[in-house]
């Protein structure tokens, strides 16, 4: 009999522990409970008989916060955090496996919420214990422990460094070799969050030998695992060329390129981001990505329904095209420019930005490529972007791209000017609301285009509104064109351009004055005098001073 009673005591204790841990884990899923959990101090509770299992369980207990109200909140909070943490930590070492797993899960959820709790997890020396037992336990525990590591590591580089310091990387890499895909996913996620902060942490992850295993994970059939592995590779490769080279050496590019055809949108998004992070560093890496035969498959991703997929696809094409003229040529030959232009037309906002930049990069390399962009009907689309978009940085990018297109030859400048973008650019430059970046970029674009523009109908409005530094270029262009074209001269006079030119005040000897003189020399003197300002006054003065002939 007494044996049974003794055993019953133990059973009750175990039941109580299980219940506590499960309730804490459940409460930790909701943010409002976490605040209360933080402030709860496990030391001084008076057990209320009405301990119900509801969301407001702690409200029924009589809370006794240590210290009076004038003690700083952080002290009580840290003591409170310590309370919850130390309780969970002792339960982590429990005999029963389910309690361990649930305690780990609760810790993970708490650490996930904000970085104070994550720091508390680190300070209470829970990590070494987790790492040690991760190697031996079953897969549920491994999943929960990897979840804790991931939740701690995602907040800041220091916390991630703390995780690396307690030797978690090796055990996580061992988890990557596990049979269960859930464990692999949790481990890959943790590695991803650690690696994404900075280059040293990525290097540490690579040194632990994670990259070949991640490449193997990509080939697994489960979609979730593929997603996480692709995002982990992308976060490793983004920091520096050497890390990207490591990823490429592990043979990741071929597998990633094959999986572009997968219908799952999130997976495509991660794969495209991984490929773009690899190719952005250097020409060789971009060439290796191109050799994996992503064109023209990538162009189908530009037509996808998901916005992120479109954005990442245009980012990838941009990163490839920006390195050398040969790569841009390749993109143009594959019809990439047309696809990107259509994509720009169908998106809004930040999703457009990589596509706009891609057009700018392609056009910047050489005039033939800029001409290719023009015949693919890129300029109307860009001018639409320029006028429609509310965000300044997108407008700046569009202005820059237009400048790159129009700066090569008069043909190009004419193509840009015909679409009436120059007034828009001018207004952006002049308006006080535009950011500095936008102003600088639009000014440069206008200057570059104007220096080559011979399309006079577009230049005329500039005579009226432009500030002096731009006016100089405008008048210069006129002075180049007018001496050779009589029709243009006639048009210039009838549209009132000559009149306006006379009204321009310029210092004698400056470039502007020279231009004005060269324009004036295209016309007979009477006309010039006729249009000079104040000519009617001089005429009237002459009338006044004229004495009629008395006969």
């Amino acid at each position: 009999m007494s044996q049974r009673q003794v055993l019953q005591v133990f059973e009750q204790y175990q039941k109580a522990r299980t219940q506590f841990v499960q309730m804490v884990a459940e409460l930790a899923t909701r943010p409002q409970n976490i605040e209360t959990l933080q402030n709860a101090d496990g030391v001084s509770f008076t057990l209320s008989p009405r301990l119900e299992c509801s969301g407001t369980i702690l409200a029924h207990c009589s809370l006794h916060l240590p210290g009076s109200s004038d003690s700083p909140a952080s002290v009580s909070q840290s003591a409170g955090i310590k309370g919850v943490m130390s309780l969970l930590r002792t339960l982590l070492l429990d005999v029963v496996p389910t309690i361990q797993q649930t305690a780990a899960l609760a810790l993970g959820r708490l650490a996930n919420y904000n970085d104070d709790l994550a720091e508390a997890v680190v300070k209470c020396d829970i990590l070494p214990q987790l790492v040690y037992s991760l190697a031996e336990q079953n897969r549920f525990y491994k999943k929960a422990a990897a979840f804790v590591l991931r939740a701690v590591g995602k907040h800041s580089p220091q916390l991630a460094q703390a995780i690396v310091d307690c030797g978690a990387l090796d055990t996580l890499v061992i988890c990557l070799e596990d049979f269960d895909p859930g464990v692999k996913e949790a481990a890959a996620w943790a590695l991803r969050y650690i690696a994404r902060h900075n280059a040293e942490l990525s290097q540490a992850v690579v040194d632990a030998g994670a990259v070949p295993l991640l490449v193997l994970c990509i080939q697994e059939p489960e979609i979730a695992l593929k997603r996480i592995a692709a995002s982990a590779l992308s976060d490793i490769a983004k920091h520096s060329p050497e890390l990207a080279q490591t990823v490429v050496d592990a043979g990741a590019v071929a597998h990633l390129a094959q999986m572009i055809l997968n219908p799952d949108a999130k997976l495509k998004h991660q794969i495209l981001s991984a490929l773009s992070q690899v190719s952005k560093h250097s020409v060789d890496l971009a060439e290796m990505v191109v050799e994996a035969e992503i064109f023209p498959v990538v162009l189908t991703c530009l037509k996808d329904k998901d916005e992120y997929v479109k954005k990442n696809a245009s980012t990838l094409i941009r990163e490839i095209a920006k390195h050398t003229p040969e790569l841009s040529q390749l993109v143009v030959n594959a019809g990439g420019v047309a696809a990107v232009i259509d994509c720009i037309g169908s998106c809004k906002g930040n999703t457009r930005l990589p596509g706009i930049m891609m057009l700018g990069y392609v056009a910047a390399h050489s005039e033939n490529l800029a001409m290719a962009v023009i015949i693919s009907k890129g300029v109307p689309q860009l001018s639409v972007c320029l006028s429609e978009e509310p965000e300044d940085h997108i407008k700046a990018a569009a202005a820059w791209a237009l400048g790159q297109i129009g700066r090569h030859t008069p043909e190009h400048a004419r193509a840009v000017a015909v679409t009436n973008t120059l007034p828009v650019l001018l207004s952006l430059y002049m308006s006080t609301e535009s950011s500095e970046d936008l102003q600088v970029k639009s000014k440069k674009a206008i200057k570059n285009i104007l220096q080559k523009c011979t399309y006079l109908p577009a230049l005329e409005p500039f005579l009226y509104d432009a500030p002096p530094n731009i006016l100089k270029h405008v008048v210069g262009q006129f002075s180049k064109v007018l001496p050779h074209d009589s029709k243009a001269r006639r048009l210039f006079v009838t549209s009132g351009g000559l009149k306006k030119v006379q009204e321009i005040k310029a210092e004698p000897g400056s470039l502007l004055q020279e231009y004005i003189n060269s324009i004036n020399s295209c016309y007979p003197e009477e006309i010039v005098r006729y249009y000079s300002p104040g000519y009617s006054d001089t005429l009237l003065q002459r009338v006044d001073s004229y004495q009629p002939l008395n006969n």
Binding site: L299, T300, K303, V332, N333, A334, A338, A339, I375
Partner: protein
């Protein structure tokens, strides 16, 4: 005189001493000589090595300069070739206006093709999505109809979707007519694919017979007559099979027994390879016939092997052929059975 006498007295000992002292020194002399030789040789070796190193350095410098000179010559040549090629390329492709126009035309054509292809692709995707959506809707409606099948109208009572004031029944009515009513999920019976005796034995056991649900009692008069106890009846009906030993053995028991025996014997083997007779070592070797049997014309008879052959005297390579049969008279010579007629 006295010294002379003294010297003479010591002369033998002097001789001995002289010999002894010289011989004692000998091993040391040899040792010292060897040591000196070693030191000298080592030192000379160091000298020579240093000299060789020095020479090596000089040679490297000379080779460096010579190779750079050669390379520069080569470089000039290659640069000339590259220059010519680049000029040709630029003039043919980059600065060629017509080529540029062609290229731009091709680019625009490619663009159009790509645009069309992408539009088709997008359309295809949309169609697939629409189809998938429609199918999902269908399934949902079907499931709903199956759940609500009891709302179907009967002959007596029109259902709620079949109001008599309507001209024709509601589409839901038609759906309900098509739907098969949902049943509660039954625990799946596992399929048994291999049919051996043990399986049959297992399936006749009382637990595995598929028992249908008990039907509702039919109200009628009780059957007359003494009936056996129901438990006895069931026991008899579901009595498990008790096969005889002969039947219980599998049909290929001999083969199985042989396998079993072979397996047991295999356990005792030291080596898996069979022990082959020596003749098989020489399987691939050509058979060299003995001298008795080998000659150009075939196996020689006992009498012939003592005859010497002179190949130079042969007229031709072939043996004489029997073109005509021999006399019958002589064919039977010595071949008749009767001993009496020895001479025929």
């Amino acid at each position: 005189m006295a010294t002379l006498a003294r010297l003479q007295a010591r002369s033998s000992t002097v001789g001995n001493q002289y010999y002894f002292r010289n011989s004692v020194v000998d091993p040391f002399r040899k040792k010292e000589n060897d040591a000196a030789v070693k030191i000298q040789s080592w030192f000379r070796g160091c000298q020579v090595r240093a000299y060789i190193r020095h020479l090596n350095r000089i040679v490297t410098i000379i080779q460096k300069w010579w190779r750079s000179f050669l390379g520069r010559k080569q470089y000039q040549l290659t640069v000339q070739i590259q220059r010519r090629w680049r000029g040709y390329r630029v003039r043919k492709y980059l600065f060629n206006y017509y080529y540029l126009k062609e290229y731009l035309k091709v680019v625009s054509e490619t663009n159009d093709a790509i645009r069309k292809a992408l539009e088709e692709f997008a359309e295809m995707k949309e169609r697939e999505e629409k189809k998938a959506n429609l199918e999902r809707e269908e399934k949902k409606r079907d499931y709903q109809a199956r759940k609500m099948h009891y709302l179907l109208s009967t002959k007596q009572i029109p259902g709620i979707y079949n109001s008599p004031f309507r001209k024709e029944p509601d589409p839901w009515e038609l759906q309900l007519q098509k739907a098969k009513p949902l049943t509660h999920r039954r625990p799946k019976v596992k399929q048994k694919d291999s049919t051996s005796l043990t399986d049959w034995l297992a399936c006749t056991s009382a637990r595995s017979f598929p028992r249908s649900e008990i039907l509702p009692p039919i109200n009628r008069k009780q059957c007359q007559g003494p009936f056996r106890d129901i438990t006895e009846v069931l026991e008899q009906r579901y009595r498990p099979l008790e096969p005889t030993l002969r039947v219980a053995e599998p049909i290929d028991e001999l083969k199985l027994a042989r396998e079993e025996l072979r397996r047991e014997e295999w356990l005792q083997n030291v080596n898996d390879n069979m022990f082959l007779p020596f003749s098989s070592y020489h399987k691939n070797e050509k058979y060299i016939p003995s001298m008795h049997l080998s000659s150009k014309y075939g196996p020689i008879s006992y009498k012939e092997q003592f005859r010497s052959e002179n190949p130079k005297k042969w007229i031709c390579d072939k043996d004489f052929q029997t073109v005509l049969p021999s006399f019958e008279l002589f064919s039977k010579y010595g071949k008749l059975y009767s001993k009496a007629g020895q001479i025929v």
